[in-house]
C-alpha cells in the first residue's frame, strides 16, 4: 500500500518514477549508514562488549575483557 501510493504520487513517465525511486532508496541507505546505524549500534545487545574500568583511586579495575 505504502509503496503503491508512493509510485502513484511520483510524477512523470515510468522511467522517471523508477529513477526517482532509486534516488530515494540511495538517500535512505545514506541516512542509515552515516547517521542512524552508527548511533543505534552501541545499543545493540551483541555490541555490549566494550567497557571502561571503574577508576578506583589511581588504579583502573576492569570487570570485563573487551572487544
Amino acid at each position: 500500500m505504502l509503496y503503491a501510493a508512493l509510485w502513484r504520487i511520483l510524477p512523470g513517465p515510468r522511467w522517471v518514477r523508477a529513477l526517482l525511486c532509486l534516488v530515494l532508496l540511495a538517500a535512505v541507505v545514506a541516512v542509515c549508514f552515516l547517521w542512524l546505524f552508527p548511533r543505534v549500534a552501541p545499543l545493540m545487545p551483541f555490541n555490549d562488549n566494550t567497557v571502561e574500568p571503574h577508576a578506583i583511586g589511581h588504579h583502573a579495575a576492569y570487570e570485563r575483557l573487551v572487544a
Binding site: C32, F33, A60, L65, V66
Partner: protein
C-alpha cells in the same frame, strides 16, 4: 472489506520495510564498518609513523650516547594513538594503531590499550584489545597465532619485539589475564608481557580469545628493526 485489505497491505509494507532495514543494518555492521575503519586506521598509522620518524635524532650522528634501554613512555591520555602494532602472522604488511583506552569509540579506531596496564616494553603486562569482527577487525586472525610468533610494538622511542608463549579461551569476566603477571593476580611482575584479547568465537561475544607474549628484544627507534623481523612466519 476494502478497509481490511487496505490495512493488511499496510502491515505487509511495514514488514517489508523493517526486514529491509534489518538486512541493511547487517550489511552496515559486517561490511561498511570494515571499509571506513580500515581507511581511518591506516591514516592513523601513517600519521604516527611520520611523527615517530620526525622525532628520530638521526640528523646528528655525534649526539650523546643513548642509555642502553630506551625509557618506556608515560601513559597517554584517553583516546590518544601512541604506538603501532605489527603482527607478521597476520600478514607482512599488517599494521594497526594502538590507542589508549578500550571504549567503543577507541576500538572502532584501532587496537585499544587497557588503561592502567603496563606500557610497551615495561615490566608488567601491556594488555591490548581488538575487534575480532567488524570495525576493521584487527584481531580477526588471533587464533592463527602460534608459539614463537612475533608481535612488534613500535613507539616513539623503540621497537619492542614480543614472542607468543600461549593462548587461552576465557569468559569475558576473567580479567586476571590482564594482571601484571598474566593470570596470577597479586604476583609481582619480573618480566615484560603483552596480552591480546579479542572476542571468541567469531561473530559472538560469548568468550574471549587471549594470547600471551613475552618481550624478547628491544631496539632503539632510530636503529630500526633488524631485517627479516617482519617476514611472514611459515604456515602452521
Amino acid at each position: 472489506m476494502r478497509a481490511a485489505r487496505w490495512s493488511l497491505g499496510l502491515v505487509g509494507d511495514l514488514c517489508l520495510t523493517v526486514g529491509g532495514l534489518l538486512l541493511l543494518f547487517v550489511v552496515w555492521q559486517l561490511w561498511w564498518t570494515d571499509v571506513t575503519a580500515g581507511r581511518a586506521q591506516a591514516a592513523t598509522v601513517h600519521e604516527l609513523s611520520r611523527d615517530f620518524a620526525a622525532s628520530d635524532p638521526t640528523s646528528s650522528p655525534s649526539s650523546s650516547p643513548r642509555p642502553p634501554t630506551p625509557a618506556t613512555l608515560p601513559e597517554p591520555s584517553y583516546g590518544k594513538a601512541f604506538a603501532v602494532l605489527r603482527v607478521p602472522r597476520f600478514g607482512a604488511d599488517w599494521v594497526r594503531p594502538v590507542i589508549e583506552g578500550t571504549g567503543h569509540d577507541v576500538l572502532q579506531r584501532g587496537v585499544g590499550h587497557y588503561r592502567g596496564t603496563a606500557m610497551p616494553g615495561a615490566v608488567g603486562n601491556f594488555a591490548i584489545a581488538g575487534h575480532r569482527t567488524t570495525w576493521g577487525r584487527p584481531f580477526h586472525d588471533i587464533d592463527r597465532l602460534r608459539t614463537g610468533d612475533l608481535v612488534v610494538v613500535e613507539t616513539r622511542s623503540a621497537y619492542y619485539v614480543y614472542s607468543v608463549r600461549s593462548h587461552l579461551v576465557v569468559d569475558p569476566t576473567d580479567v586476571q589475564v590482564i594482571t601484571p603477571v598474566p593470570n596470577r593476580p597479586g604476583a609481582r611482575p619480573t618480566s615484560a608481557w603483552l596480552t591480546m584479547t579479542a572476542c571468541h568465537p567469531k561473530y559472538s561475544a560469548a568468550h574471549r580469545y587471549v594470547v600471551f607474549a613475552q618481550l624478547v628484544h628491544t631496539y632503539p627507534h632510530d636503529a630500526g628493526l633488524p631485517k627479516g623481523t617482519l617476514a611472514a612466519p611459515k604456515a602452521a
